[in-house]
């Protein structure tokens, strides 16, 4: 198998605009971006709270969250699977083997990254600007929006890291989604399937498309932060 045929099949996929292929790309993006959005909405407030609050056992919580950044995707997938299975506690929802289940599993994977990076970013800023902010009457929770604003670029990097983790993983979405054609098949599960069918050029072609997409999203985020920085002076 030569790499040239992989690039040819990648180009063929992009140029052909095959509806099945577009649907797979669309589902991958939708699930992953939704997971990152949910993780941000839950994780940034939690991370901010962890940065500013002081309570017994806080170091242990921080270590735990940092460790969960390395949560194996299959384990996250298995936990969500057991919860959503018809024989599990949330089986009545009928969410197993749906994109919703995949979104939930990926949210679990991205969440520790968002919490940990928010916590470390805001804690550093808080140490630096504490006196200044307190003198302006912004203490505790009221300082959070300012801290988030000042740390927005570091936080954006954290979200991109989360996006990378979610878009690249296959273990969790395979278990909870089931890789059903036209319904829960994503870029990564399609790559796994084509590899097992021995169609390595197509598998690698899909991989090239996935990397290109990630590149485009990161470039867009980088460009946006550059423009933002210029406007902020």
């Amino acid at each position: 198998m030569d790499v040239a045929s992989a690039f040819a099949s990648a180009l063929g996929l992009i140029a052909g605009l095959d509806p099945q292929f577009l649907q797979i790309v669309g589902l991958s993006l939708r699930v992953t971006l939704m997971a990152v959005l949910l993780a941000a909405l839950i994780g940034v407030p939690l991370g901010a709270w962890l940065a500013l609050s002081r309570f017994p056992g806080r170091p242990a919580v921080i270590v735990l969250v940092n460790a969960l950044m390395g949560l194996p995707p299959v384990v996250a997938g298995l936990v969500v699977f057991l919860l959503l299975s018809r024989s599990g506690p949330l089986g009545g929802l009928g969410w197993l083997f749906t994109p919703t289940a995949m979104t939930i599993a990926q949210t679990l994977l991205v969440l520790p990254i968002v919490i940990a990076l928010t916590r470390s970013t805001l804690e550093e800023l808080w140490t630096e600007y504490r006196e200044h902010l307190t003198s302006l009457g912004l203490s505790g929770a009221r300082a959070v929006p300012t801290l988030i604003w000042d740390g927005r670029f570091a936080l954006a990097t954290g979200l991109l890291a989360g996006f990378g983790r979610a878009s690249a993983e296959v273990g969790a979405v395979l278990i909870v989604g089931g890789n059903i054609a036209g319904h829960t098949r994503t870029m990564t599960t399609a790559i796994a399937l084509e590899t097992s069918k021995g169609d390595l050029p197509l598998a690698l072609g899909l991989g090239i498309v996935l990397i290109a997409l990630t590149l485009v999203i990161n470039a867009a985020a980088f460009g946006a932060s550059r423009i933002g920085a210029r406007f902020a002076g």
Partner: protein
Amino acid sequence: MLSRRALFSVGFGLAFTGLAAAQQPQPAAPAQAAGRFITVSSTTSTTDSGLFNHLLPAFQRSTGIEARVVSQGTGQALDTGRRGDADVVFVHAKAQEERFVADGFGVERRPVMYNDFVLIGPRQDPAGVRGTRDIAAALQRIRERQSPFVSRGDRSGTHAAELALWQAADIRIDEAKGPWYREIGQGMGAALNTAGAMGAYVLSDRATWLNFRNRGDLEIVVEGDRRLFNQYGVILVNPARHAHVKREDGQRFVDWLTGPEGQRAIADYKINGEQLFFPNAGQPGA
């Protein structure tokens, strides 16, 4: 500050709408009878061989029901049925299927079709088994020569068949296995990829083999032994056990598959002019 809070709540709202939107059925298939679907847990061989790509559109055209297939090894596919996460199971390991029904998880097992297993090996044939039709003798040679052999090792139907064949060769593989016997715990395609890379022998169903692209040095070395016969069965998951099972639509899938239309569709599936599966729903005792 207020605007920021407003932003947050808009974000939350969006997130929930998004989660709900992720639930919407895909516009991929022709949207007839939107939302009417069943979940079928089946084996890697039926998917990797391309059979479902051929059968499911015909089933949907005929009944308006979309069949969503999750493909796993037979053991895992039956577990999915046991937990109630599928409406129908479509697998190939008769003894396990009969136990599934006897334990009350399935309504009734019906034979659907068969194909056969083939022993795949490197062209150089280090164990010298080419030419024999006797699969037991071939396995004995492989064991004697300690030639690399890849086992699925995943409780799949093919794995069960492989273990039964070692037994037929009078080899207790649990005791005989050494570094030459490599259990990979993965699907058929992955096992073929591994065997290709290691120059090993591997047992495969013929359908997956014919549809497999990355053959490299591999080829069929033993075929045609009656013991290589591979029967598929279909079972509706018992609605008395799992109330949410889609009894009516699931039964229609079973009836279609074992009826004249489905049987003809199975016989029609060919790769390079070669028929892969042989319908035998009417054969008693299959």
